[in-house]
């Protein structure tokens, strides 16, 4: 005689195990905290106000920085970047009214951005307002 199958099937609950959810979540948080890099770049703030183009010179006393290749001229005198810094510091532009803080920046064709950036940084550091001088076409 065939034996009757009497044993009951084990009752299995279909619950999802949620006990480790908090561990997973905290691991995710830690991962993102560790893996995140805060992008903070180093910059110089250049005050280059937009203005109307004028063919007249600003003033005879307005300092003019001229970049020709790798050379820097301040009021037609050849200076090094350190000398430029010293001379701009001596002008005490921060104490002047805005219209007297203008420094004209002229550059010859082919001037690399490296030199331009250093002059711009120097002027900005000493509270100068940069006015770009354009070449006549």
């Amino acid at each position: 005689m065939r034996k009757r199958y009497t044993r009951e099937k084990k009752h299995r609950s279909g619950e999802i195990p949620t006990g480790s959810f908090s561990d997973i979540a905290f691991l995710l948080i830690i991962y993102f905290l560790v893996a995140t890099t805060l992008v903070k770049v180093k910059t110089i703030t250049a005050d280059l106000p937009a203005g109307e183009k004028t063919s007249q010179p600003q003033s005879d006393k307005t300092p003019i920085v001229n970049l020709r290749g790798n050379e820097i001229f301040l009021n037609d005198r050849n200076v090094s970047i350190d000398e430029l810094n010293d001379r701009l510091a001596a002008l005490e532009l921060g104490t002047q009214e805005p219209s007297k803080r203008v420094i004209m920046l002229e550059s010859a064709r082919g001037t690399p951005y490296e030199n331009y950036f250093q002059a711009l940084a120097s002027i900005s550091k000493h509270d100068g307002v940069v006015a770009i001088v354009e070449e006549d076409e």
Partner: protein, 141 residues
């Protein structure tokens, strides 16, 4: 008769950990919602110029303009045709700004590029009303 001191019952204080998972997931959702995806296109090939006056920027920038070593101009990571596109883009972004702090525009340019390439872009940002944050590196970090 002196009473014998009663032994204190030791009570187990269970720390409620049932809601830990919820707290953790809430934290994740909070960070995901609040975080801003960086639009800084780091795959642009740029050799930065050096200056001892560069400082870490603390103000959020309204836009990012970059010129790579081949002279290609990027506005917020997207390549554009020329300085005029940069001007329009910056102008559009700065339309609803109310304070100067919202007008900062990051400018990244390759150190070797000549004036003819970068100066029109600088002028375009200035014309659009942006305050230029020129990215550089400190020679003595």
């Amino acid at each position: 008769m002196k009473k014998r001191p009663q032994r204190r019952k030791r009570r187990t204080v269970p720390v409620p950990i049932a809601s830990m998972g919820d707290i953790a997931f809430l934290l994740i959702i909070f960070f995901m919602v609040c975080s801003e995806v960086s639009r800084d296109n780091s795959n642009i090939q740029v050799t930065l110029p050096f200056s001892e006056y560069v400082e870490k920027i603390e103000i959020p920038v309204a836009a990012r303009v970059a010129i790579d070593e081949s002279g290609e101009i990027y506005f917020d990571g997207v390549r554009v045709d020329g300085a005029k596109d940069v001007e329009w883009g910056v102008r559009a972004l700065l339309t609803n700004t109310v304070s100067d702090d919202q007008r900062h525009v990051q400018f990244k340019c390759d150190a070797a590029l000549p004036k003819e390439t970068f100066e029109p872009v600088l002028k375009a940002i200035a014309e659009a009303g942006g305050i230029i944050e020129a990215v550089g590196e400190n020679p003595n970090p």
